[in-house]
Amino acid sequence: MHRAGCDGTVGVVAPRTKEAREGLAAMKIAVLVKQVPDTATHIQLAADGSAINTAGIKWVLNPYDEFAIEEALKLRDQHTGEVVLVSFGPARVEEAIRQGLAMGADRAIWVSDDGVADVDYLGRAQILVAALSQEADWDLVLVGKQAVDDDAAQTGPLVAALLDWPQAMVVLGLTVDAVGRRITATRELEGATQTVELPMPAVLGAQRGLNVPRYPTLPNIMKAKRKEVRQTSAAALGLDAAELAADCRVVVEGYQLPPPRPEPKVLTGDPAEAAATLVKLLHSEAQII
C-alpha cells in the first residue's frame, strides 16, 4: 500500500502520487469491534452472583461500533484504502465480525480468547494493540464510544495511550485531510460541542449521530462469508496469558441487581384532579417539590 507523507515526517511532504495530487491518499483503517448482549436483554445473574448469566443471550455487534464501521467505510470509499476489523473474544464473536464484513469492511483479525481467562481493561487494550502492531501503516483506529455491556468507555483512550497516538472520543462529526494527515473532529460534551484538531495516526471514538450505519445487503452478506478473518491468539501475539492475568488491576468481585422499585401509585380519572393529587404526593410523600 502506498501513501504520501506517511513516513513520519508529517505534514511537510509534497504530494508525490497522482492520488495525493488529487487530494486522495489511500487510508488503512482499523475498527475495533466488540460483541455485546442485545440491548433488549433482561440481565440475570449467575446463582452465586459472580457473573452475568449469559445463557440464552442474543449477541450483537456493539451499536456504537456500527457507527465506527460506517465512518471507516465512508472514509475508505472517499479516499480508497482498506478497512480492517479487529476483535478480541470467544468463538461467538465471529458472527459480529461477519456482520461488520457484510457492512463492507475488507477483512478482519480475530484474537481468540482461548487461555486468556481474566483480563482487565488494560490487558484487553494490550492485546488489541499487539494485534494492531502485527501490521504497519495504520492511519486511523476507530472504536465505539463505549461498549453497551461493560459501559467502561476505556478501550479507545487506553489503546491511544499505549500506541502513543492522539485521540478524540465521543465524535459527532469528522473531516479527514488524508494528504495533509490532519483530522478535525467535533465531540459531544455536556451541553456543548467541541472542535478538536489532531494529526494522523489517531484513535477516534464514534458517537451516535456521526452517521447512519448502512444495512448489510444480501449480496454483501454472501460476500462477507468469503472475506478473510485471520485468527490469532494472545500467545501468538507474544503475550503471556499468566502474565496478563497477574497484571490484572481491576478485579470484578461480583454483581448485583438494582433494588426493586416500589409498587407504583397510579392515578386515573379527571386529569385536573389526578394532577392535583400527584402534586400533593410529590410534595408530602416523595418530598421532592
Binding site: I52, D150, A161, L189, V196, Y255, P264, K265, I288
Partner: protein
C-alpha cells in the same frame, strides 16, 4: 503512597459540580490529605470552593499549553502530578472530560481505573467500588489492585454538603509536557438548557407527543419545575428534538431526583437509562404501558390534557409555597 488527588474540570474559576462531588467524596473516604488539580485560566480561583469541602492543597496549571484541553498533554500532566504527589487514589468526574482523560492516564501509569462509579466506600486502606453495567440493569462490585487506584465518579450521585474549610493552599507543580497533539480549537455551547446527566429534574417526551411542536407543552412543564427536557430515542431519530435529548441505554444515562416520562412506553433500553432516578412519574394513556412498572407515580390519561393540568397544579403549588 497516601492521600487522594481529585482532578477537577473548571471553567473561568467555576468547578463543574461533579468535581465538588469528588472533593466531598475524597474527604469522606479519609485516606489522608486531599489535594486537587485544576487546569487553565481561573484555576487558582477554585481554591475557596474546594477548600470549603476540606481540600488542603490545590495544584494549578493555568498557563499554555493547559489553557486549552488536549487529552494527550493533560494526561501526561496528570501522570506527572501523580508521580510527584503519590496519592493512593485519584478521582475524576465521569463527564466527557473525565471519560476522555482518565483512561488515558490509566494507560500511561498502567494503573487500574474503575469508570462511571456510583458507589465508593473505604475498606481499610482499600476502597470497595460499585459501578453500573448494562446501563444500570446490573451493578458490578470491583476492587482495584495496586496504587494509584483511578476512579471516575458518575455525576449527580455523591452528595456535596456544605463545608466551611479554609481556602486550599495553591501551588504550581513543575510539569513538562511535549507539544500537545489533539488540541481543542473551539467550543460551542448548545443553549441555556441544563445538561441531562447533571439535571436534578427531567421531563422527557416520547412518541406519544405526536409531533415536534408539542414539545412546547413539555418546555412549559419543565420551566415550572426548573427541569431539563429529554426524550426517547425514536423522537430524537425523527428529528423532533436534538440527539442530545436522547435518554436510554444508547443515549444518556441519567440520575435525577425526578424523572417525568410523558408518552413514553417504557422499552427496556429507555428504562435502563432512567432506573437510577429517585422518583419516576409516568404519564401515559395506556394503563398497561410497561413504564408504569418502573414508575413511583403514574397518571393514566391523555397527555394533552394531563400535562397542562400538571403544569397548572405545580405552578399553583410552587406559587403558594
Amino acid at each position: 503512597m497516601s492521600g487522594i488527588l481529585v482532578v477537577l474540570e473548571q471553567f473561568e474559576g467555576r468547578v463543574r459540580r461533579v468535581g465538588l462531588e469528588a472533593c466531598a467524596t475524597a474527604v469522606r473516604l479519609r485516606h489522608g490529605s486531599v489535594s486537587a488539580l485544576a487546569f487553565g485560566a481561573g484555576a487558582d480561583a477554585v481554591a475557596e470552593a474546594v477548600g470549603a469541602l476540606g481540600v488542603e492543597q490545590l495544584l494549578v496549571l493555568p498557563d499554555a499549553p493547559f489553557d486549552r484541553y488536549s487529552s494527550d498533554a493533560f494526561a501526561h500532566a496528570v501522570a506527572e502530578v501523580v508521580r510527584q504527589v503519590e496519592p493512593s487514589l485519584v478521582l475524576f468526574g465521569a463527564t466527557a472530560f473525565g471519560k476522555d482523560l482518565a483512561p488515558r492516564v490509566s494507560g500511561l501509569l498502567k494503573a487500574g481505573l474503575a469508570s462511571d462509579v456510583t458507589g465508593i466506600e473505604s475498606d481499610g486502606d482499600d476502597v470497595a467500588i460499585v459501578r453500573p453495567v448494562y446501563a444500570g440493569k446490573a451493578f458490578q462490585r470491583v476492587r482495584i489492585v495496586g496504587t494509584p487506584k483511578l476512579v471516575s465518579l458518575r455525576p449527580n450521585v455523591q452528595p456535596v454538603g456544605v463545608g466551611e474549610g479554609p481556602a486550599a493552599l495553591v501551588s504550581r507543580p513543575a510539569v513538562e509536557v511535549g507539544a500537545p497533539r489533539a488540541v481543542v480549537t473551539g467550543t460551542e455551547r448548545n443553549d441555556e438548557t441544563v445538561e441531562l446527566t447533571e439535571a436534578s429534574r427531567i421531563v422527557s417526551g416520547g412518541r406519544g407527543m405526536k409531533a415536534s411542536e408539542n414539545f412546547r407543552l413539555l418546555d412549559r412543564l419543565a420551566a415550572v419545575l426548573g427541569a431539563a427536557v429529554g426524550s426517547s430515542r425514536p423522537v430524537a431519530d425523527e428529528g423532533w428534538v436534538p440527539h442530545s435529548y436522547h435518554v436510554g441505554q444508547t443515549g444518556k444515562v441519567v440520575s435525577p431526583d425526578l424523572y417525568v416520562a410523558v408518552g413514553i412506553s417504557g422499552a427496556i433500553q429507555h428504562v435502563a437509562g432512567i432506573s437510577n432516578s429517585k422518583c419516576i412519574v409516568a404519564i401515559n394513556n395506556d394503563p398497561d404501558a410497561p413504564i408504569f412498572k418502573v414508575a413511583n407515580y403514574g397518571i393514566v390519561g391523555d397527555l394533552f390534557q394531563v400535562v397542562p393540568a400538571l403544569t397548572a397544579a405545580l405552578k399553583a403549588h410552587l406559587d403558594a409555597s
